[in-house]
Symmetry: C2
Subunit: 391 residues, 2 copies
């Protein structure tokens, strides 16, 4: 009964292939499709979509014909192979890296997630906040999004957004600029970053953070896909901050999705005379909480959820950490904060990889960020010292 | 049992004189003094303050000496006479014009109110909103206060504020500029309008609206008197709107007083980067409700309180209206809105007097404002037509 536990067996490979196939055939968030998968399993649903006759209930003739046409053109093995070559992995429920909170979406849960980037999506999502808002935002909105995201990064929080122009971009840039952790959830294949004007930004997020999407390679975004993408942003995170939004904007849809999922929604106020704050003010007249800085955001989202590593100490025994994370942990000096570059050097890895691991270790309660530097938490000190020996 | 009812007997004249005397001796909101008056009556308290020995409990020797010194110099008959000559009346509890909602202040209820202006304070207070905020406000704050106050006036609501520089002044001016009804509650004698730079504005409020204060002629404002004045603003009105306020500002004290009294508190958001909105945002993170226009304010305050004349029709029979109000009511045409000037002409009175009566009649459910014009409410139509006969 002693010694390291057996590695968790992941989901069978045929399930992954079937789910990859289904991400090509079904639109994300399709609850009918989600129900089929829940009741029959992904393999059986894929089989019936490819077989003859009308073997699945609850859709119109037109829609059935559309699904069949897509199924005929789908080639999951080719998609998985193309993705792998592009550095993209395909996560499915049951994977160690699968973020469990997506289960809150019920039958609208993603069938799988295409992911690019070093960090563990599951770890990063544990301490993450969504930041969304208008594409055509004001200077004020850009300033607030960038400042909030940068300050959240300094407090050890991951910023999740949609990669779009305006508030999304400002949030990603604010986090990246503070050597922070940021996740872009795209409404298209990860090989087709959208918008094109953000190609460089999105490439940088893939290097320093994470790109996530429900779409196999080559898929383009559509208006409805943007809306469906929003539910993933809302579900992944502990809360959603809306920075600027006109009435009836898509960002409000993300906020309402977050509310329906029991996540916190927050809004940054603006002048009552600004149409780009009118949607936020509408939210603030409802359940959303007014926030003006990162400390207020963290005060709200920091206390919720079952996992509160900063209080209970590390939640995962050191033995169970990935080797790369263990190496970074071992590179942290015992009594002081160290800069990420120093830690990367000690762990014999790149700066980006070190940052990825540091935010994972942050989510697990091992380390915390102090301004530019990182240090071991008090709870982590003893075990690390014991194992690392004198330096 | 038929015919006009007996006029309500007001409070005895000696009670008025004693209370006028006490407004010179006690500071407003002094709960010890309020308790003495409640238990012994104003006349007895005045008598004991003037008599020999230490006949009232609950104050230190120093304070007692101070009260005695003030009592020796007080001359209520001279004050009442000076006030009358300046067009100032002194209201006491029991007067028809006394606003009953001040009872919510308990022993901190004003001992009496010095009032200057044509309208009935009681009637006007029925449909009133307080608007307060920073003295050193921004252009944005001035714009919001003036716009909100003007739009509230057009919706038939009375705007109450403190006559100060900044938000207060903008609120009064916004209401006056829309031919609206506004009340300034001063922290000094009404013959000493403060601040001096607002002498003309305050004179105009006395002409077109109401000046109110707890202080007899000649009294100067002090920092503590401003704070105590705020409780009257909060208690008189159905709700308080804070337009701009730094953290720890006096306007927040008014808002908190309003909350303690069960009144609605509202806040106008501003940029998160503005220190002059930080206090408002703090309120909005608590119980206060975010408002961006007059319609939102009215939606909130319009529904509360026992009196909701706009739904139940006139609350006071036409026979019981003051003659001046009855005359204005009779001057309203039956089927259409009329401008205040036309109504004043028909009622053979001045424009300011007509406006004063119109807002009284609005509070009673007889009339409503439509843009620049006024018309009879549907509920008022039948009775007025019957009595006025064909025109």
């Amino acid at each position: 009964m002693t010694g390291a536990p057996e590695p968790e067996p992941g989901p069978p490979e045929h399930d992954r292939v079937s789910r990859a196939f289904l991400t090509r055939v079904l639109e994300p968030g399709d609850e009918t499709g989600g129900r089929w998968v829940r009741l029959l399993g992904a393999g059986e649903v894929a089989h019936r979509l490819r077989g003859p006759g009308r073997a699945l209930p609850g859709v119109s003739d037109t829609r059935w014909a559309g699904l069949r046409a897509r199924a005929e053109r789908a080639d999951a093995l080719r998609d998985l192979d193309a993705a792998r070559r592009a550095g993209v992995r395909f996560l499915v429920p049951g994977d160690t890296e699968w973020p469990g909170q997506l289960d809150d979406l019920g039958d609208a849960r993603p069938l799988g997630l295409w992911v690019r980037g070093r960090p563990s999506l599951r770890m990063w999502a544990l301490r993450s906040v969504a930041m969304v808002g208008a594409r055509a935002c004001t200077e004020y909105g850009v300033h607030m999004a960038a400042t909030l995201a940068g300050d959240l990064a300094e407090l050890g929080w991951v910023v999740v957004s949609g990669g779009a122009y305006g508030i999304d971009g400002a949030a990603h840039r604010g986090s990246l600029g503070a050597a922070g952790a940021t996740v872009a959830v795209l409404a298209c294949g990860l090989d087709r970053p959208y918008p094109r004007g953000h190609a460089r930004l999105i490439a940088r997020i893939a290097e320093q953070g994470l790109l996530v999407g429900e779409f196999p390679p080559g898929e383009h975004p559509t208006p409805s896909r943007f809306v469906l993408r929003n539910r993933v942003i809302a579900a992944l995170t502990r809360g959603t901050v809306v920075v600027e939004a006109a009435r009836r904007s898509g960002s409000l849809a993300t906020a309402r999705a977050a509310q329906r999922l029991g996540r916190l929604t927050m809004g940054v106020p603006g002048p009552a005379t600004s149409g780009l704050s009118a949607g936020v003010h509408e939210l603030l007249r409802g359940e959303a909480v007014l926030v003006t800085d990162a400390a207020e955001v963290v005060e709200l989202v920091g206390g919720i959820g079952e996992l509160a590593p900063e209080r209970s100490g590390p939640v995962l025994p050191r033995d169970l950490l990935e080797p790369a994370a263990r190496q970074v942990l071992a590179a942290l000096p015992a009594g002081r904060a160290a800069a990420p570059a120093e830690i990367a050097l000690g762990a014999q890895t790149t700066l980006d990889d070190a940052l990825a691991r540091l935010y994972e270790l942050r989510a697990l309660g091992y380390v915390e960020r102090h301004g530019e530097g990182w240090k071991l938490t008090r709870q982590a000190m003893t075990s690390v010292r014991a194992e690392a020996g004198p330096r």
